[in-house]
């Protein structure tokens, strides 16, 4: 492990403050309801051991997911996901209308947009705090099991290091009970950039 525990704790609280500042208001506005969040942890995980973050629940349900990659002064990947059967409910809430099967594209677009906005809110908070210039990719959308999503993100991200820093956030809509998960993924070399 290349990143000391103390740095990970600091990173966890820094990310938490960014989420409180920008991401929660953005999501609450989109959903039209109060939103709670829970930043579970930030940990350094060897790529060969990434199975540890796959829960049984995530193995059983196909997920709707969005991946956004951020580059520039800071490199970060954001994977947003929720069970596929909940994604239509979320899309309906966002659009204020029910979505028929023929309009599946609306679900894809609205989930992609949520991933885009939530990631942008975090990088906006990071930029304001640090002055870093960060660009985000177009959101990539997929419906797959979590294991596949994680593997795709890690192979896209794991060029430099044999370990990755993974922060796991959950968002809850207080009224709708909708739950959205997000993984923020960084190379260990990026952590120090938050401490400057």
């Amino acid at each position: 492990m290349s990143t000391i525990c103390n740095d990970l704790q600091k990173l966890n609280s820094i990310l938490d403050s960014f989420i409180v500042q920008k991401t929660i208001p953005a999501l609450a506005t989109m959903l039209g309801e109060p939103v709670l969040h829970f930043l579970k942890n930030t940990q350094e995980i060897p790529i060969v051991n990434l199975d540890v973050i796959i829960s049984n629940l995530e193995e059983m349900n196909a997920m709707s997911a969005v991946y956004v990659k951020c580059d520039g002064d800071l490199h970060m990947g954001a994977l947003l996901y929720l069970p596929e059967n909940k994604s239509k409910m979320l899309a309906s809430q966002l659009l204020g209308r029910s979505i028929s099967d023929e309009l599946e594209i609306l679900t894809t677009s609205s989930i992609s947009e949520i991933g885009n906005i939530l990631t942008a809110s975090i990088i906006n908070a990071i930029s304001l705090d640090t002055g870093y210039k960060i660009c985000s990719s177009v959101p990539g959308y997929a419906v797959e099991f979590f294991r596949t999503l994680l593997e795709a993100v890690v192979s896209d991200f794991g060029h430099e290091s044999d370990t990755l820093i993974v922060s796991h956030v959950e968002f809850y809509g207080v009224t709708s009970n909708i739950s959205i998960c997000m993984l923020l993924i960084q190379n260990p070399s990026e952590v120090k950039k938050f401490m400057m």
């Binding site: 790529i47 177009v138 990539g140 959308y141 294991r147 596949t148 593997e151 192979s155 896209d156 044999d162």
Partner: protein
């Protein structure tokens, strides 16, 4: 009862026991399997990326399968050490999917395709025939290689299929 060896992300295993099976899960990564069915030696790597950029040899054996170039070289040497004849070594592979796509339906992160192309190139350079493959598309696959039969079984939980190659 077969003993199943689970290969993690970036991992690699070499076996010389007919009662063993090699198993991994791949999305955009590629499971490359080399085998010599006469001497009963096989190897599988979970390849994540085409090439190692720093040119340094991996010290930690756990992720020796991460880069295609490093993995292939390690697999061939290790199999020969366990009695495989390089002239008899054949290959099968699966994976290399494009999992994420954006709304224009073009591939956003094309590492899967790059892995496939690069692996085929190295196999050719090493004179190893690729006898079958189940690659591309947009879903994850469980991959199991049976050394006794030489069959690679591929299953998808999402698409609910099982095929053998």
């Amino acid at each position: 009862m077969k003993r199943v060896i689970d290969i993690k992300m970036g991992g690699l295993e070499i076996i010389a026991d007919k009662d063993c099976e090699l198993k991994t899960f791949v999305g955009s990564c590629v499971a490359i399997c080399l085998f010599d069915l006469v001497s009963h030696v096989a190897s599988m790597a979970h390849v994540m990326l085409p090439q190692k950029s720093d040119g340094l040899q991996s010290i930690v054996k756990k992720d020796i399968g991460k880069y295609a170039d490093e993995a292939l070289s390690y697999m061939i040497k290790g199999m020969i050490q366990k009695g495989a004849d390089p002239k008899r070594i054949k290959a099968k592979m699966a994976g290399g999917a494009a999992i994420f796509a954006h709304e224009s339906e073009t591939s956003l992160f094309n590492v899967g395709q790059r892995n496939i192309v690069y692996l085929k190139q190295i196999l050719k350079e090493n004179g190893i025939p690729l006898v079958s493959e189940d690659t591309g598309e947009n879903f994850g696959r469980w991959v199991i290689f049976n050394l006794q039969s030489g069959i690679l079984t591929i299953t998808s939980n999402l698409k609910k299929f099982e095929r053998t190659i």
